[in-house]
């Protein structure tokens, strides 16, 4: 189980910073940064710039995404913003609008 879980009914407006991993099933507005993995679950709404080691996105995200390892947009994800990571996957069924920067 993840260290920090933002449950489906919970909204956080502000800045979240953590050394550990984060699962978002609710709503986050502001800024989200973790030193480890970030999972944005199906049904979650994130209106924030997101930075982490590796990101799995299945929910709705508006904001810029930066990962030190990888970003995976899963089926059902809806992302508006720029994605910066060395490895990026976009699954069939994911919606994405923005730029990808793999630092080539």
């Amino acid at each position: 189980m993840a260290s920090t879980v933002i449950g489906a009914g919970i909204t956080i407006e502000g800045e979240i910073t953590t050394d550990e991993d984060v699962v978002v099933a609710g709503t986050v507005r502001g800024k989200l940064s973790a030193k480890e993995g970030i999972t944005i679950e199906h049904g979650a709404t994130v209106d924030a710039d997101v930075a982490g080691a590796s990101l799995v996105i299945a929910g709705a995200l508006t904001g810029n995404v930066t990962a030190t390892e990888r970003v995976d947009l899963q089926s059902g994800a809806r992302v508006i913003g720029n994605v910066k990571a060395a490895r990026v996957t976009i699954a069939d069924g994911a919606q994405f609008k923005g730029n990808v920067d793999m630092d080539v």
């Binding site: 189980m1 993840a2 260290s3 920090t4 879980v5 933002i6 449950g7 489906a8 009914g9 919970i10 909204t11 956080i12 407006e13 502000g14 800045e15 979240i16 910073t17 953590t18 050394d19 550990e20 991993d21 984060v22 699962v23 099933a25 609710g26 709503t27 502001g30 030193k35 480890e36 993995g37 999972t39 679950e41 199906h42 049904g43 982490g52 080691a53 590796s54 990101l55 799995v56 299945a58 929910g59 390892e69 995976d72 899963q74 059902g76």
Partner: protein
Amino acid sequence: MAQVRTTTRGGDTREARIGGGARIRGRIHGEGDLVVEGQVDGEVAIRGDLTIAEGASITSEAVEAHAVTIAGTLEGDVAATGPVRLAPGSRVRGNLRGTAVTIDDGARFSGKLDCEFDLPPELGGAPRGDARGRPPARR
């Protein structure tokens, strides 16, 4: 090494937890229970139970929840719709309101309590004086 959960439809998503390494500056609100193990600087208003774990700290203008259990540090006022409990080792500075307030041995608290209950008769109108009698001076 980061670990990523790949499940996207978790079953435990009614619960919310702020882990020990996490710090939040801002407002937390919504429905469901919340466990804080890290640091929160800002308002908390949830319709659910709030647990402030040992080692956690919350600095807040206002904390609103149903039942509130505090084992960590809290600076701010609590308005609970259920019981409030200060566990051993907790440090609380602020005013507490709830249907009941429990302060355990080893809890440190400074503030005002606001909770409605009937005083037992011995505290209601007992004449004082006898209880504070000092032992007669020896000679």
